[in-house]
Symmetry: C2
Subunit: 403 residues, 2 copies
């Protein structure tokens, strides 16, 4: 009898959890499980702001798939998926076609430029490890060369977006200014961060008092805010912002675009019905048109999702676990799981290494406790992937160890 | 009264220790002390083999001068020295002239190509953090691209030199092969290291039984040796070796040149009498021609040096301390120190992370004990520079934390 072929495309939080769950719960030879990813490593999207500032080394940020997957149970293939052909039960990558009996789509997100001019050309993004490293090199270069350039706008940074990504990056960089100025012999009053957001409060997913607390903490770090402003255009040396009908140019030679995300290109350009690269799914996370196709993480347009408003790492991981178990039950001909239900454990926004604000099991947390909880969340993820030794090697602790 | 100007050129083990000693022992305003280095960071030369293999991140390997020097006591200037003009009591850098009353020359080493063809063009070196990073990128690239190139010689490495640098690098890389092959899905039998040395024993500074033990440990890691062979020419794809009169071509697309070092270019091209970039010094480490010029580390041709045959980090550091104290006594008009005497605490050659051989206070050590002592030596240096917090941040411990 032919073994069923399970194909997982994408190795982010969702795809990796699905793979690990299958690896743990399936017997050897029960199925051919393959994970395909364009990188041979997984990285924690929730830590990219640290990579971008340079406080987390790229080696520590990478988890190589072949180190956590047992090839006898889950085969890893490095390839970039270019097309999904669900009518023929196969996907196409640069390396050829991959047929499947069951497909798990976990292709992740990409930054949404909302059609705004100049974003693709001039703004940095935090969408992958490589994009974060590019920004890190830029920051280091700008500080190191300041002795020659003397251009203060080389040390001005505009962050577009006052959600999680923007705020965590801005805080991390603001804390690091002290270090960078010391190393490069620059007056600490020169570098500057301006965060531009459309909503009146930063971190709008939080209750108002936490948003305001976060803003106060950020301002104490010297970060400036332009709230209720929408970016009209992104240029090489700044952004043009519309603030309640008035145009303002904010000058800065580095712009980070962190306003929001959409689903994958592959889905956006494909034939499966979607909304901005996200596929509508049933409560069991199945693609409505194709019974044997499951969709998780940022690839899924779940109705419950809109209620959650949370950063999606946690959601993606839970979806991955759910689909892993669903597939095991399918192969074992056991009854299906009840509909997927997200358990919202909590959300913490870090503000540098030792501060933060957040909500854990519905309760507000702040300060060192929040920073500790943030690390705990990251380390819990590592533990789920590779046990204690993974936490030890890649974990986040109170003190930075990278420089 | 004008304050005496003390100028230290070079921020390696010797120059940094001299600076730190002056910082600790001089009263504020007692002298104008300036350290000039072409990098704004110090790095531990004894750890470059780890950087080159990729097991130590570049951030962890760097110690920024401005983080350990108090600008009220020791001013740091980033500049590349191009000329020493002792007749006029000044040195020239790319940024201009620096006058001094007392000069400390601590310009370090550079690899000696012994006039052999192709070394400059084709061989990697471990002479600076940047050169080590270049080699690290090459190794990563060769492994990652092997899936496309399929050229086994991309995974063959020739190490020229069987002294400390060559052996520590070869061992570190041999241990890392397991990891690299796993990550890149390469058969572990493909990569290969061949060490070529002129002497019959590897690590000739050790007693014979330790050299032989080291070789046995290295061979257990799969490293091959060509002893008693001298390299005639270095090519893009290997080296031509003369083994007792017979020529042999060893094919490998990466060649590391680690056969020996000489003094700095600046000294070699300058007017002060020298031997291969090293200046003969008095027992008090003074330049014989110029009373107010002191020479330490690899810039010094000390007669006692030839007896020691040890890697010079330890020697350089002790010379730095000695000169720092000498200058403090000079300024305080106290009696001079007795002649410099090197206290040889010990020397350990690491073989990967958990093994090694060495001599500590005249006693042979091996295995885990040697590895532990090696880390202790590195951490002691960090402690001397920045106390416990520096050891915590940059220290070497039993387990790797970098990837």
């Amino acid at each position: 009898m032919k073994k069923p072929r399970i194909l997982i495309i994408g190795g982010g939080y969702g795809g990796l959890r699905a793979s690990i769950t299958l690896q743990r719960m399936l017997k050897e030879d029960q199925a051919d499980v393959t994970l395909i990813s364009k990188h041979d490593y997984h990285y924690q999207t929730t830590l990219l702001h640290k990579v971008a500032v340079g406080t987390l080394g790229d080696r520590k940020a990478r988890i190589f798939f072949r180190k956590v997957l047992d090839p006898n149970k889950v085969k890893f293939v490095k390839d970039k998926i270019i097309r999904i052909i669900p009518e023929e039960n196969k996907v196409e990558g640069n390396g050829g076609f991959y047929p499947y009996d069951y497909l798990v789509i976990a292709l992740g997100f990409k930054p949404d430029n909302f059609g705004i001019k100049g974003v693709n050309e001039y703004a940095y993004k935090l969408s992958s490890l490589n994009s974060a490293l590019k920004l890190a090199r830029n920051i280091e270069y700008k500080f190191k060369e300041f002795v020659h350039t003397k251009d203060i706008f080389d040390l001005h940074f505009v962050v577009c977006g006052t959600g999680f990504t923007g705020i965590e990056f801005a805080a991390e960089l603001a804390v690091e200014f002290k270090e960078l100025c010391l190393i490069c012999d620059i007056d600490i009053s020169i570098p500057k961060i301006i965060c531009v957001g459309r909503s009146e409060e930063i971190l709008p997913i939080f209750p108002r008092h936490l948003s305001q607390l976060a803003r106060k903490k950020m301002e104490a770090l010297g970060v400036e805010f332009v709230c209720g402003g929408s970016v009209k255009e992104c240029l090489e040396n700044g952004v043009l912002v519309d603030i309640k009908g008035e145009e303002k140019f904010i000058q800065a030679n580095t712009v980070l675009w962190a306003t929001g995300v959409k689903g994958s290109d592959v889905i956006e350009k494909g034939n499966i019905p979607h909304k901005k690269g996200r596929i509508p799914v049933s409560p069991e996370l199945r693609c409505k048109e194709f019974e044997n196709v499951f969709v998780i993480g940022d690839s899924a347009l779940a109705t419950s999702r809109d209620v959650i408003h949370a950063p999606t790492a946690q959601l993606s991981a839970q979806m991955g676990d759910y689909i892993g178990e669903t597939l095991v039950r399918l192969l074992n001909k056991r009854s299906a799981l009840p509909a997927f239900k997200f358990i919202h454990r909590g959300t913490v926004c870090s503000i540098g290494h030792t501060d933060g604000v957040g909500v854990i099991y519905g309760k507000g947390v702040k300060g060192e406790v929040a920073a500790f909880m943030k690390n705990t969340i990251e380390n819990k993820w590592l533990f789920g992937i590779g046990g204690f030794s993974m936490v030890f090697k890649k974990g986040q602790f109170r003190y930075r160890t990278s420089n």
